[in-house]
Amino acid sequence: MKNDPNYMSGAEIFFECLKRENVEYIFGYPGGAVLKIYEHLYDVDFLKHILVRHEQGAVHAAEGYAKASGKVGVVLVTSGPGATNTVTGIADAYMDSVPIVVFTGQVSSHLIGNDAFQEADIIGITRPITKHNFLVRDVKELAPIIKKAFYIASTGRPGPVVVDLPKDVINSKCIFKYPDEVEIRGYKPTYKGNSNQIKKAAEVISKAKRPLLYVGGGVIMSGSSEELKIFARENNLPVTMTLQGLGAFPGTDPLSLGMLGMHGTYWANRAVDNCDVLVSLGARFDDRVTGKVETFCTKAYKIHVDIDPTAIDKNVVVDLPIVGDVKHVLAELAAEMNNPPDTFEWLKQIEEWKNECPLEYEKNDGRLRSEFVIEKIFEKTNGDAVVVTDVGQHQMWTAQHYRYNHPRSNITSGGLGTMGFSLPASIGAAFAVKDRPVISISGDGGFQMNIQELTTAVYNKLPIKIFILNNSFLGMVRQWQELFHKEKYSFTDLGSSNPDFVKVGQAFGIESYSTDNPNEVDSLLDKVMKINDRPTLIEFKVVKEDMVFPMIPSGASISDMMVKRLNPKRMI
């Protein structure tokens, strides 16, 4: 056995498996429990290890990579604190169904449960925030488990998988053989939708007078954007998208209504409220979309296509569920559509709503506004860039004003709403995308949450455009305080304590700029868009007290939509 060339240590097997999964990048951080793996990594040349500066950054980078590329993102960290630092990222990936595999070191098997040095029960901790997790108890299980981990992460409704690797397992040896196939009897995702249901859906859509497609991240994950484009255009169906769905359908297409929900466009929400057939594709009727469920889209016949049966009837009870992969279902649905519905009047009505209440902001007072900056970024990139946002007002303004033209170019933390997501996620995206600009947009608050990853961007010479929309506030929280909490601006004013962002950038070795002048935006953007061999940073000092509108307050109805500030005096 010892002479068999396939007789290897767990650490060697680990890399053999990653090779077979075509892993190009690992985002990681070393430590005691995974030293053996790092020892072998030193001589591995088929993949690149990206050293982050905090394990949370590794997970977000893996997410950014996965979302931009459609492949599985891979993370490697040590036991204990290394593992617990990944928790926020894993929860984020779980909420947004991002396929990643996180390898965590673990203390030796015989020490598990002993409160050993750097021991943490990461399997227990991550159980509710992973699609599945594995503790490898024997080196012989390692290869089959890794095979299963990649399979589970990337199939069905994707999600994060954790593989916990005790030190002794990594060190001990066995004969390596990678399984050719995966067989998990408790896991059989349904890809093909029920044909009768699909026929029925086609009939209903054909007869609709006011149909609406409600599109979520599932369309992007399943790679169905082309199918969606054809289906919507051939049948003249208007399309509204969730935050995660943006990019699934071109934002510049006349049939696109932009985003729906809490900060969705007025016309998208009016369309939801008045449609007679709602077709949900890879979306989950999340509370940021529905508001008060009882008043959500009450007049429509609802069709729900989703690969995850638990998504169906969870928040909103639908009339026609179709469990399956959107890609398969859309193709079949398109083939079943004999006559497109007559939507001429309906589209005209939506156009009227659009004119009634467009996305507006003050343009004539000479002050710099986030919406203006986003519009400029859109202009410069024609909607072709990969734009990675953080969480807060700037995220919503980007969703409203950046009209994404391609799938996999809108990367943001939607489900968990994780501040600090953008910078590390843009690093992952920059490894996946080389032919289009990658832009990271953060607020002044969130930017400071994973600021250490500036080093990673610099070291790897990633041409990320790092934009900070500095409103000197935890702006989104400030907005809620103004609207719902008696204007008690409790701990949201960052103005006096924010660092000098230009100096911060320079300290990391980044060419950095700052402006509060709308007239400088063009030239600054031009300058950084030309730089392609290193990161650049621009701080946009924007108006402090601006608010994101329209807004449907949490748990409220479309009739409660606020389209502008009630008290104009406060427009400082």
Binding site: P128, H132, E141, E183, I184, R185, K314
Partner: protein
């Protein structure tokens, strides 16, 4: 809110039970009783969970259970013909002169007297849960010291549920 008995076949390995329990607690679903044990197939265990909720909740519970990778088969037995049994150990006081009466109750419920110590006696009673409730109710007149109930185990009547043998992919 109706009670539902859900039968779950799970992989008999590390963590499978925790996944089911975590799902229930994480989603805020109730567990009224839970039992777990081996089956005719070595690597598979059966969990029987009694839970409660309206149709929408039960629908979610079944779907969420199915979504777990370690669950092989999930069946809500409530609306299909099935057998439910539970075992209870009931330690009851035996006041002077009541021994015969307690023995009679035990006989009526086809129980076993498994222990007699001093002034107390332990009965073992099996049956559908309502039968056990009835026995406990009668015995409470004498003063009950302790009760241990196993939780319900249940099987569908008639044909068995087929399970595929998993290929052993371990190297």
């Amino acid at each position: 809110m109706k009670k539902h008995t859900i039968s779950i076949l799970v992989e008999n390995h590390f963590g499978a039970f925790d996944r089911v329990a975590t799902m229930f607690s994480g989603k805020g679903f109730n567990i009224r009783s839970i039992s777990i044990g081996e089956t005719e197939i070595e690597e598979i265990s059966r969990m029987t969970i009694v839970t409660e909720g309206d149709d929408k909740i039960i629908d979610q519970i079944v779907k969420q259970l199915n979504r777990l990778i370690d669950t092989i088969k999930v069946v809500d037995l409530t609306s299909t013909p099935h057998i439910e049994r539970e075992l209870a150990l009931i330690k009851v006081n035996v006041p002077k002169g009541t021994m015969e009466e307690i023995k009679n109750i035990n006989d009526i419920f086809r129980g076993n007297i498994v222990d007699i110590t001093g002034r107390s006696m332990t009965l073992e009673i099996t049956g559908p849960p309502d039968k056990i409730d009835a026995a406990i109710n009668l015995l409470s007149n004498f003063g009950i010291k302790e009760i241990a109930r196993s939780g319900i185990v249940a099987l569908k009547r008639g044909e068995q549920i087929k399970i595929k043998k998993e290929k052993n992919l371990t190297t």
